[in-house]
Structures are given as C-alpha cells and as structure tokens.
C-alpha cells in the first residue's frame, strides 16, 4: 500500500466535493472526517490498491447515508412544494430523493450514489462494489426503476 498521505493528497478534494453534493456544505466536513478515519482504520488490511478512489467513494457514500439517517430527515408530505433557496448557483441536494436513495437495497443504493452522486463510470462502480460491470449496470437499472416508482 502507498503511504496514506498519498491517498489523502490524491483523493481528498474529490471526496469533499462529493460529500458537499450529498449532504450539503455543513455536513460535509463531519462526513469527510468519518470517511477518512474509517479508511485509515481499514487501510492496512486492504488487499487491492488498484481502485482506491472507488473504495473511498464507497465509504463516503455510506457516511453520507449515515448522516441523513442520524439527522432523521424523513420526507414529510406537503400540499405544495416549497421554494428552495439556491446558494452559489447550486441547488441544495433534494432531501426527499436522498431519503429514497437511502431506502434502496444496499447494492442498488451504492450503484445509484456512485453513478449520480460521484459520477463514476460503470467500470469503476463495478470495481468499487466488487462485482462485474454487468451486475453493476443491473443494480443501477433496478435502483433507478424503484426510485421512479417511489417518487412518482
């Protein structure tokens, strides 16, 4: 394994960007700490150093889900959709959508988050999930189908 500092130098900006998208600016800092502490804990036992980015993004994704759960952000039915304030031209992440993503089965949830939250190509999603690209594509497809139904 390369020195952990190298991993941090190469991937910290990407992890921070993804977490900002997933949990917003305020939660991102805490999730960042949790992500890299978990990674550091597991690092000496990691057997395959070929896809460290995918590995980190998978951990970040799990920490983002934990964050949403801990904050108890459940969708609340409303008659009208409230106007959402926009900061820096970037809309805040859609809490209802994320809650639905969080409720997906683990494989589908990870595939959706890695594809749309982290913008990973199918090959890297497969590597991060430890399955074939075909299986990754299927998980993504199933996940999206379910989301469409839930949110329709």
């Amino acid at each position: 394994m390369p020195p952990f500092q190298t991993v941090l130098d190469e991937h910290s900006a990407a992890v921070m960007a993804i977490l900002r998208g997933a949990v917003g600016k305020d939660g991102a800092e805490d999730c960042f700490q949790e992500t890299f502490l978990a990674a550091l804990r597991a690092y000496p036992k990691l057997v395959d150093a070929r896809n460290l980015r995918g590995w980190l993004l998978t951990i970040a994704h799990r920490k983002a889900i934990d964050h949403h759960r801990a904050n108890g952000r459940q969708p609340i039915p409303v008659a009208e959709v409230a106007e959402v304030a926009v900061e820096n031209g970037m809309p805040e992440p859609d809490q209802r959508l994320w809650a639905a993503v969080g409720a997906l089965p683990p494989k589908q949830r990870a595939a959706v988050a890695l594809r749309y939250g982290s913008d990973l190509p199918h090959g890297e999603i497969a590597a991060a999930l430890g399955c074939s690209p075909e299986a990754a594509r299927r998980s993504l497809h199933e996940g999206l189908k379910r989301l469409r139904k839930e949110l329709a």
């Binding site: 020195p3 941090l8 890299f36 000496p44």
Partner: protein, 193 residues
Amino acid sequence: MKTATDTAIDRLTARAAEEGLLDVAYATTDSPFGPLLLAQTRRGLVRVGLPNQDSDELLVDLAARVSPRVLEAPAELDEVRRELDLYFEGKLDHFDLPLDWRLSGGFRQRVLRAINRIPYGQTRSYTEMARKAGNERAVRAAGTACGSNPIPLVVPCHRVLRSGGALGGYGGGLPMKQALLELEGVLDEKSST
C-alpha cells in the same frame, strides 16, 4: 491560502493521532544542508532522511516496513525539530529523543547503538565500533551499518572515521560529514582536506 479541504485534513490528522491511527508521523524541516525528512512512530524517531535522499522513496519504504498509516503531521515532530535546530546552531550537544530502532536488526543495530554512545565532539574508528558490537573483525560490516543508519545526525554516524583518521564515507555526502565534524569542533577548516 488554506482551503476548507486543507483545514479538514489538519483536523483529520489530529483526530487520527488521538485515536491511535497515526502509525508513522512525518514532517520536513530546513537545515543548513537542505531539507530533512523526519519520521516518528509511537516508540520514537524512526527515520531521518538527508537532503540528498528521495523523500517519496523513504515514505514508500516506511509504509512497507512499518505501517501504511503514514501521515504528514508536523506538530507531532515539534520536539525533534527543536533539538535539531539547536544542534545546527551549536547549542545542543546531546539529543534527548526516544528512538525506534526497528529498521535495523542484529549486528547492525548493535553497531548503531554503540555509535549512539559516542559523545559530541569525539570520533571513533570503524574497528572500535565493530569491537563494541561484539565482532572486532567485522569492520566492513560495521562500515555498512554506518552507511545504512536510518537515523543519521541524531545517531551520530558522522563521528565514525577510518582508523588512520580519513573521513571514510557518509550517506549525506562527504562535505556534509566534514561540516558536521567542523560544527562539533573536531576538525578545523584548514586541517581537513
């Protein structure tokens, strides 16, 4: 200017140290000879990289031989840096730092521990170091042990010379060895050629 990610990394390093996840802390520091790499474990100082050595290679080696949990953590090395600064100013003649000897084993480690007891401003021969380590005839091996010293400067392998008084070798280059001996008042600038 520090970005939010830089600040987050600083906090992460501090938390890693608190939670016992920082196996190798390192920092770089300036010296009259150029930048030094300093690396420390929970046992003590484990590696000093001299200016002519490749820091990235040393860190990769530490990751392989000690632990891959290697993080840049300058605050952890404040005391090492302070003592080295004083030494280079000629204001410190004895390092009081815990050392981690794990990168050298057997005869080499015995040679290095013997070297660590040579007082400031004095020199010894490779032959004496071989004898102190328990094998007087292993002079060449004692020379190799000096050359492979993972903690140069603090473990003063620059105080070991050839039996006739010739400088011998130095991992940081002979001009550096000569300058260190001048600093310690062993050589004056005219006599050494």
